[in-house]
């Protein structure tokens, strides 16, 4: 089976495209950089890809609010094409700033199959940017490629990561109905709203979301900075205890499973 083609979106201020590209290549995809200007000049090219990835960064400086200007540009330039891309079997991934973009676009959680902003990612309760490794637990969710029950360590690095729905009921729905694919957990493995295990104060510990069809996944922490064994902060202890390093770091599962799902889709 040929390698699924992955569109790695570039835009002014997006800055995690190289590691996202490399992680997809390592997982067996055929990644290609496409600048947002190129994409909007020829929106039909989206159909040539089976994966759309929006990497992290500070798109357009996160001016106005994080991801806002790029989301607006994509909504104006692509609009319904994005829904169609997912409907016809495409997969999409948004990491950190990319997650913020997908949320502002309305592609996540997209509970009503419309590009509405149903939730937001807003300022951390600490009111500043912070970089730290967090522990996540993958949930039984709608996501068609992310396995449930994994405990993963990825770095979080953001200032606006607190996921807020319009009201508490909606926030609960995200968890109850399988949209919240990734939760922040504490040392005992329990979902937590407490700093620092939950770095931004997201209610119900929500770290990542999928959409209704489970084909779009977004998260604040970075699998693209934890996919190699030497990325992991405790790799030296792993090496001492096990005598060798594993093949992958904890973030690699996202890329491997996504590429596997894209291949299965054909």
């Amino acid at each position: 089976m040929s390698s699924p083609r992955a569109l790695i979106l570039r835009a002014p201020g997006i800055n995690c495209e190289r590691e996202t590209h490399h992680a997809f290549a390592r997982a067996g995809a055929a990644p290609e950089y496409v600048h947002v200007g190129q994409l909007l000049a020829d929106p039909g090219q989206l159909d040539r890809f089976s994966i759309l990835a929006v990497p992290g960064g500070f798109a357009y400086g996160d001016d106005i609010s994080s991801g806002r200007v790029l989301a607006q540009e994509l909504r104006a330039g692509l609009g319904e094409r994005l829904l169609q891309f997912v409907d016809r079997g495409g997969l999409a991934l948004g990491i950190c700033n990319g997650f913020q973009v997908l949320v502002r676009l309305g592609l996540l959680p997209c509970t009503r199959h419309k590009l509405d902003e149903e939730v937001t990612l807003t300022h951390n309760l600490s009111n500043h940017y912070e970089c730290r490794w967090v522990t996540l637990r993958t949930q039984k969710s709608r996501c068609v490629f992310l396995p449930e029950g994994l405990t993963l360590r990825w770095p979080a690095a953001h200032g606006e990561g607190r996921l807020m729905a319009k009201d508490k009921a909606m926030q609960q729905t995200l968890v109850d109905e399988g949209y919240a694919a990734l939760l922040y957990v504490d040392a005992a493995g329990r979902p937590t709203e407490h700093y620092p295990d939950n770095p931004n104060g997201s209610p119900l510990a929500i770290a990542g979301l999928t959409n209704t069809s489970g084909r779009v996944l977004g998260m604040m922490p970075h699998p693209d900075r934890s996919y190699l064994p030497t990325h992991m902060p405790q790799w030296r202890r792993t090496l001492l205890e096990q005598g060798a390093l594993p093949e992958d770091g904890d973030g690699m599962v996202v890329f491997r499973e996504m590429v596997k799902a894209a291949k299965a889709e054909g």
Binding site: G57, I64, S65, Q72, L125
Partner: protein, 977 residues
């Protein structure tokens, strides 16, 4: 211009972190009785939009539909009635200051198909007094807000008055040529002309200029004089360190010598003498370049941004980061920046207002501003900040030091550049504004009480996304080989960038093509403006079209400014009128050789007689809580140290990822384990005793840090960055000469070539009849290339029952130590480096670490063995038992000296019991001893003379170590015993 005003705010049922932070900041600035602060984000949209367009745009773009509400005020509408007990504090950019958000608002207007009108932004803080408190006094609130909520230099604060208009059109530019007659002036008159014009040229230099133009038979034009001032500035030419020095050495019986070109005969001499084969390009480019592997090289540059950071810490530090990134981007034929390193020197944050002279910002606000500035530039650039250190001394109160560094990677085949006649001069990146006029010359003058107000034109404001676009564009153009030379616009702006590239050629510049942020700039201002985010490229004509296309695709503005020629002249025209026609030989070689006197006089100091302490636990906790030693986690976590996915050795380590690391380890080529280790060394305190000790210890510490983390001392390049108080005072300059000699002698023994360096030589602050001078500092930055990052170490204890091995000799060297500092003493016995011993320790430890003998390693520096063991224990959450009597020493030392002496060339290692023999083989002739073991106990026990001299619980050590800079009150939440 009349405008719509849109206020967006978080709905009251949701938390407002920005408002909460503002409340804390105002309270800290002394405003009492605040019940709540809520924040509004304000936008001005030109009146040309209709109300329905404004509302549509606000709903779609400005307002978060989940959290926010908004209010639209029509153009010219009266301010709304203030809420009861509430003041509105408005913060807005001053006229002419870059407002990137306003540009993004314009972009979003265009994306939505709406008219792209003029826009502006502001913030409002609604400050509500508690019902039972006395109303908040407006004037006091305004003053507090200026300090706590705004950068007064670049932002205006208004009270209870909302901005209603967009900045008006600027006045017409003065396009005059302005010849400046010099012929009639004597030396005094010339000096006055230089001082009045902010040119920072001395009498000799002005006389040389006078003579040059007399021979040409005309007066210099203003732009020519400004160009000479920029090019001849200390910042650009290092004229003091490349000048002639008459040195009298008081430590060698008054022996005197004349040194022609101090830099060439010392620093550059080391590099030439060592002639290491990994050096690719040294001292000739923006950054030093060394080989990384068969294809690629890594380059490194560190510089200072002290002046701007003293006046406006946030903007100064941010643009410092932006500037050094551009240095690397402009190295060779374009290097890709992969890491930032930052070192700061501040006055202690608890200095107290009474000790802060008028005209200085408080040390705490300087520190917070600098950290925020580095964060808000480095993070958006997508370049990890991986390494750094912070030092504290009262004498930095008027002159904080902000060292910013960057590393890049580039193909070795593209390590050299050469502009050619016929190449087009292309400027790309940001637009030119009035920001940063006279920055290069400003940095060459001393600061004084009024600097904050008189020099604000020299402050620059950064826009990292514009720089990111420039970087993306340059990287693509480099991949396609579209230019013959590149450099950044730093100090001196176009005048320096184009003037330097044209040095061997000539140039014709048509300045009216330069894109401007706003109208009203005189041509000379355009020419020397230090507006940020600009690069200059030399582009072969046949590649120009492709280059402009790539830049367009990357949304990066690029403009042809002129052509490189072979005329030997720098000709600058504006709309056909010649504003400068300079002989490039005179511009670059006409600077008279500066001659300075230098005299070293040893200081008369004594060791203090302190009462012997039998229980050293309190002393240990005091040392751990010293600002220099304490945890810098509050800073580290605000920096992105993971972006680019190259990190293999992080700034924090250990089981809870909060222990200190000695160095950063990067694997910059994704998927490859070949790596770079980056470390630094500096201890300003030793400079108060002996500048030679300070200089040697900087190099030794950088090398110890590097080796402890797994770097290879035999494949290491170093950088020297001088910050000195003065070089006009012969005694201060004498200190510099002595420090340089010591540094270079050690570098020869260590075989570490200098590949790049910088100097900032005027760091004194004049106030109220006294001058505060910084201690002389040479920051040494060390970069090593290694085969395999999995052969690197962290400092945290790994296992109980392993052995603690101390390599190196401990001596009676408490002078300048943190232990003495905690006792209010300086002392006299500053540590010196035994060259051969140091070399053996570094090479022996590296051999052992590379062979996998060690589980952990930590360099011994401030706080000695005591601090090092406790730091390793905090990181590993394991205890230890240490027998101080087992330490290898020179002479008999008491327990206090064994615990706290800061003798150099010492590394502490954790070793598996079975590897001891192995270790011995690798260490060779380096002295070492087993001094204890790692335990499962919850604390560390230090024993001497058969008695316990200190017993410290890890939780107590952690508390002492984390508390001083726990500025958000979050670091100690997790302390569990």
């Amino acid at each position: 211009m009349q405008a719509w005003r849109v206020d967006v705010l978080v709905r009251s049922e949701h938390p407002d972190p920005a408002g909460g932070a503002a409340k804390r900041a105002l309270a800290a600035a002394g405003v009492e009785g605040i019940e709540e602060v809520r924040c509004r984000r304000g936008y001005l949209l030109a009146a040309a939009l209709s109300e329905s367009q404004v509302r549509e745009f606000t709903r779609a773009v400005l307002c978060d539909p989940v959290l926010d509400q908004f209010v639209v005020h029509a153009p010219g509408a009266a301010d709304p009635q203030p809420l009861p007990r509430t003041h509105q504090v408005v913060v807005k950019p001053r006229a002419g200051v870059t407002d990137p958000v306003a540009h993004s608002v314009q972009k979003a207007l265009g994306d939505m198909g709406l008219p792209v009108v003029e826009t502006g932004t502001y913030r409002v803080f609604d400050v509500r007094a508690a019902a039972d408190a006395t109303p908040i006094e407006g004037r006091q609130l305004l003053n507090a807000a200026r300090r706590a909520l705004a950068n007064d230099v670049v932002q205006e604060v208004l009270l209870d008055h909302l901005p209603a208009r967009l900045p008006g059109a600027a006045g017409a530019a003065d396009l005059g040529v302005h010849p400046i007659p010099l012929a009639h002036l004597g030396k005094d008159g010339l000096e006055k002309l230089s001082a009045d014009g902010g040119l920072a040229l001395d009498g000799e230099e002005m006389l040389a200029i006078q003579a040059h133009f007399a021979a040409a038979g005309r007066a210099p034009m203003r732009m020519e004089l400004e160009t000479l001032a920029q090019t001849w500035s200390e910042h650009c030419k290092h004229k003091t360190l490349t000048g002639r020095v008459r040195f009298e050495d008081g430590a060698a019986g008054g022996q005197s010598k004349v040194i022609d070109n101090l830099l060439r005969s010392t620093i550059a001499h080391v590099t030439r003498t060592l002639d290491r084969d990994f050096c690719v390009s040294v001292f000739v480019d923006n950054a030093g370049i060394i080989k990384f592997d068969d294809e690629d090289s890594v380059c490194i540059k560190v510089e200072t941004h002290n002046r701007p950071s003293a006046i406006e810490p946030f903007g100064g530090a941010g643009t410092g980061v932006g500037g050094v990134i551009r240095d690397v981007l402009g190295t060779g034929l374009g290097a890709r920046p992969i890491a930032n390193t930052d070192v700061f020197c501040f006055a202690p944050p608890d200095l107290g207002a009474a000790n802060v002279p008028q005209g200085c910002l408080s040390p705490l606000s300087v520190m917070k501003g600098v950290v925020a500035g580095v964060r808000d530039y480095g993070n958006p650039m997508g370049i990890p900040t991986v390494n750094g250190s912070v030092h504290f001394d009262e004498n930095f109160v008027g002159n904080p030091l902000v060292y910013v560094g960057n590393i890049g990677i580039l193909p070795t085949a593209r390590a050299h550049k050469k502009p050619r006649a016929g190449n087009k001069i292309v400027a790309l990146g940001g637009r030119t504004g009035r920001d940063g006029i006279h920055g290069a010359t400003f940095s060459s003058l001393e600061l004084h009480t009024e600097s904050e107000t008189t020099s604000s034109g020299a402050v620059q404001i950064g826009d990292p996304i514009t720089e990111r676009k420039a970087m993306d564009a340059v990287m693509r153009c480099a991949d396609e080989d579209l230019f013959d030379a590149i450099t950044d616009c730093g100090a001196g702006g176009f005048s320096s960038a184009i003037g330097e590239m044209a040095e061997e050629l000539g140039a014709e510049v048509e300045l009216q093509h330069a894109p401007l942020k706003y109208q009203g700039l005189a041509p000379w201002e355009v020419w020397i403006s230090e507006a940020q985010e600009r690069m200059v490229l030399a582009v072969p004509p046949d590649k120009l079209e492709r280059l402009l296309t790539v830049c367009r695709e990357e949304a990066c503005e690029a403009t042809v400014l002129g052509t490189f020629t072979d005329s030997g002249r720098l000709v600058v025209r504006h709309a056909g009128v010649v504003h400068a026609d300079l002989d490039l030989k005179f511009l670059h070689k006409g600077l008279p050789v500066r001659e300075r006197q230098a005299k070293y006089q040893p200081k008369q100091l004594r060791e203090p007689a302190l009462p012997a302490e039998t229980d050293l636990r309190g002393a240990l906790l005091a040392v751990m809580g010293d600002y220099g030693i304490c945890s810098k986690e509050w800073i580290v976590r605000q920096y992105d140290h993971e972006v680019q996915a190259a990190s293999a050795g992080k700034p924090l380590c250990g089981v809870r990822e909060d222990g200190p690391s000695d160095a950063a380890v990067l694997a910059p080529k994704l998927g490859s384990r070949r790596g770079v280790v980056l470390a630094n060394g500096l201890n300003p305190r030793y400079s108060h005793i002996d500048p030679a000790a300070m200089a040697e210890c900087s190099l030794d510490e950088a090398m110890r840090n590097l080796v402890a983390a797994g770097g290879d001392p035999d494949y290491t390049a170093v950088l020297d960055n001088y910050c000195w108080g003065s070089t006009k005072d012969p005694l201060a300059f004498g200190d510099l000469v002595r420090a340089t000699d010591a540094l270079c002698a050690l570098a020869i023994t260590y075989r570490t070539p200098f590949v790049s360096g910088k100097d900032s030589l005027h760091n004194e602050f004049r106030t109220e009849g006294r001058t505060i001078r910084i201690p002389g500092c040479i920051l040494v930055t060390a970069m090593s290339v290694i085969d395999d990052v999995t052969r690197t170490l962290t400092t945290d204890f790994k296992r109980a029952d392993s052995l603690l091995v101390l390599v190196g000799l401990t001596k009676d060297e408490l002078g300048g130590s943190v232990y003495y500092k905690t006792k209010g003493q300086l002392g006299a016995n500053a540590p010196r480096v035994d060259h051969e011993l140091g070399k053996n320790v570094l090479r022996g430890c590296h051999a052992a670490i590379a062979a996998g003998c060690a589980l952990a390693a930590h360099d011994l520096s401030e706080g000695g063995v005591g601090a090092a063991v406790l730091e390793m224990a905090i990181g590993g959450r394991r205890g230890a038992r240490v027998d101080l009597d087992a330490m290898p020493t020179t002479g008999a030392l008491d327990a206090t000296r064994r615990l706290f002496s800061e003798s150099q060339s010492r590394i502490l290692m954790e070793i598996d019991k079975h590897r001891l023999k192995d270790l011995q083989t690798h260490l060779g002739s380096a002295p070492f001893a087993v001094i204890g073991e790692v335990t499962d106990a919850p604390g560390v026990t230090f024993v001497a003379g058969g008695k316990t001299v200190a017993e410290v619980a890890i939780a107590d050590a952690e508390r002492a170590w984390k508390a001083p800079l726990d500025l958000d009150g979050t670091l100690l939440q997790e302390v569990r015993s």
